[in-house]
């Protein structure tokens, strides 16, 4: 692939990535949003976060096998508990990393 073709490729990728990020911000911040849609949007963050994280905890990305005994999932339990108790983002990240590191040594 020549450099020019590569450039066309990443500019295209940039456009199709930017437009979905940009359009709703411009469109929705300029008008009254239907209150039902606002109530719907309030559920979106928790839904997205859970949908992003749970498959990565339970599924092996290489073999696509589901398992409840993956270290990612086992470590997630005390990490969630610590997050619930501490309400601290940075603290939870450090505890999660530490537990995952220890799990790697033990398991």
């Amino acid at each position: 692939m020549s450099f020019t073709v590569y450039l066309i490729c990443i500019v295209g990728m940039g456009l199709v990535t930017y437009i979905p990020r940009w359009l709703p911000l411009i469109w929705l911040s300029r008008r009254e949003i239907n209150p039902l849609f606002v109530r719907w949007l309030k559920f979106v963050p928790a839904g997205i976060l859970s949908a992003l994280v749970l498959p990565s905890l339970l599924m092996n990305p290489a073999t696509r096998e589901l398992s409840l005994s993956r270290p990612e999932f086992l470590v997630a339990m005390p990490t969630l508990a610590f997050g619930w108790w501490s309400r601290s983002l940075g603290g939870t990240v450090i505890v999660g990393m530490l537990l995952f590191f220890l799990a790697g040594k033990l398991l």
Partner: protein
């Protein structure tokens, strides 16, 4: 005033730091992988600056390595990143009446991670577009630098060092916990997560996040409306 600026910076740093750690942990391996597929540090730099979307960059690089065409790479990128429509929509609630320029600048930095951090702070109050822009664009810079560094470094950093692979996962878990403010939201999160697991297991690809979120959020609204209506009717009768 100076104190105010300093505390704004401190808050921004506090919010952005976990993202920086996570991006560095993902960005360096991305650079290493991209270099293995024959991309020069300049090409990596351009991709990180122009696209700025972690997972789709990984996918694009592996597609390039497999000799995929430009068009199919762009279409795949579009679908992988379409979930940002939902994130920008939710963020728009908190950015009403801002200038087009600021919003356009902001949109460039909307990622899973910055979305989650900024939305959580916006919901808690005490957050504004300046701090949010700092989170977005400092994370952007860390991503840029670490992917290019990975392109130069090769495989110097050992795999799994200090649990760094888990940084972003732990951050998502913490942000998820902070989102749970009612039983209904907890139920929506659980439903969405389970659906996402099933969907991504049944049909590989990147639709599972969008489909699971839309179904779970809709179910949440339906349940909420039922309850609210019933309660209202009861109040009216009594």
């Amino acid at each position: 005033m100076r104190d105010e600026a300093r505390s704004a910076l401190a808050q921004g740093l506090n919010a952005a730091l976990p993202i920086w750690v996570g991006y560095a942990a993902v960005g360096v391996p991305f650079g290493v992988l991209a270099a293995k597929q024959g991309l020069t540090p300049l090409m990596i730099a351009l991709m990180s600056a122009i696209v700025f979307a972690g997972s789709s960059q990984f996918i694009a690089v592996s597609m390039l390595g497999a000799g995929a065409g430009v068009f199919s790479i762009i279409i795949t990128t579009f679908f992988v990143n379409l979930r940002h429509v939902l994130m920008s929509s939710a963020l728009a609630l908190h950015l009403k009446g801002r200038s087009k320029w600021l919003l356009s600048l902001y949109a460039y930095g909307v990622t899973d991670e910055s979305f989650a951090v900024n939305l959580t702070r916006f919901t808690q109050g005490d957050w504004d577009i300046r701090r949010a822009l700092f989170v977005n664009h400092s994370a952007n810079l860390v991503w840029f630098v670490s992917t290019v560094a990975g392109g130069y470094l090769g495989a110097v950093i050992p795999e799994g060092a200090l649990g760094i692979d888990y940084a972003l996962t732990a951050m998502f878990l913490a942000l998820l916990v902070l989102q749970i403010t009612s039983w209904l939201i907890a139920a929506v999160a659980l439903l969405s997560g389970v659906l996402a697991v099933l969907l991504s297991w049944l049909c590989p690809g990147n639709w599972h996040v969008i489909i699971a979120t839309v179904i779970a959020a809709t179910a949440g609204v339906v349940v909420q409306e039922r309850f609210v209506c019933r309660r209202r009717n009861k109040e009216r009768r009594s």
